[in-house]
């Protein structure tokens, strides 16, 4: 997929509505959804962090058309 790396970076730097989501199953993972340029899709990037939460690693990224059920935003903490 051409330009995939740039789309992943964009998803992490500018996620949709600035939301970062906690993974449902892995406490040390955060999920980012970014718009996929020119397509009716999001790019989802999954970042994994060490215990000290110092520097995360992107372990996978793939196109999806929606948010995973049950994922809760951890940033911003609340916009109610």
């Amino acid at each position: 997929m051409a330009g995939k790396q740039q789309i992943v970076i964009e998803a992490i730097e500018h996620p949709v509505h600035d939301f970062i989501f906690q993974d449902n199953d892995y406490e040390n993972r955060e999920n980012y959804y970014g718009y996929f340029p020119g397509r009716k899709l999001f790019m989802k990037a999954v970042a994994e962090f060490p215990e000290d939460h110092s520097e995360g690693t992107i372990i996978t990224a793939f196109p999806t058309d929606g948010l995973k059920s049950g994922e809760k935003p951890i940033w911003p903490k609340s916009r109610d």
Partner: protein, 144 residues
Amino acid sequence: MAEIERLVETSELIFDLFIHLIDEGFQSAHLFYDTEFDALMVLFVPPEVETIVHYTSDKNIAYLYRPDTMEVVGLQVEAFRKSFLPKHAALRAQWELAERTKPVSDYGDVINMYIERKSTITREIAREVDSKFQGGRSRDLVPA
């Protein structure tokens, strides 16, 4: 609170191939396991074919569909080892057997393990999906 909208509804997907493949126990599927992400991909098309993840109400299982045809051509089972396998004892036994003989292939940055001896595993997954899919009456995989 602003929400992330769903861009494609489940009703827009085509399930003709999928229903047929459930009936035959996913025997023609290719299985790939991403060890780092902990996700099992069940694919009815070659891995180089572009697929989109469509999440369902199920905690683990998402559909994979082709964006050009909207046909469902696979499944992505997330947190496969962490939460899916512990709920399926028969599948776990087969998985552990397969893992002892795992060959590794490089299909890029997503797929890193190709599973052989897959027939029992695919049959178990097909049975699981069929129970939640309710014989096609529910397109959104309803947790059992």
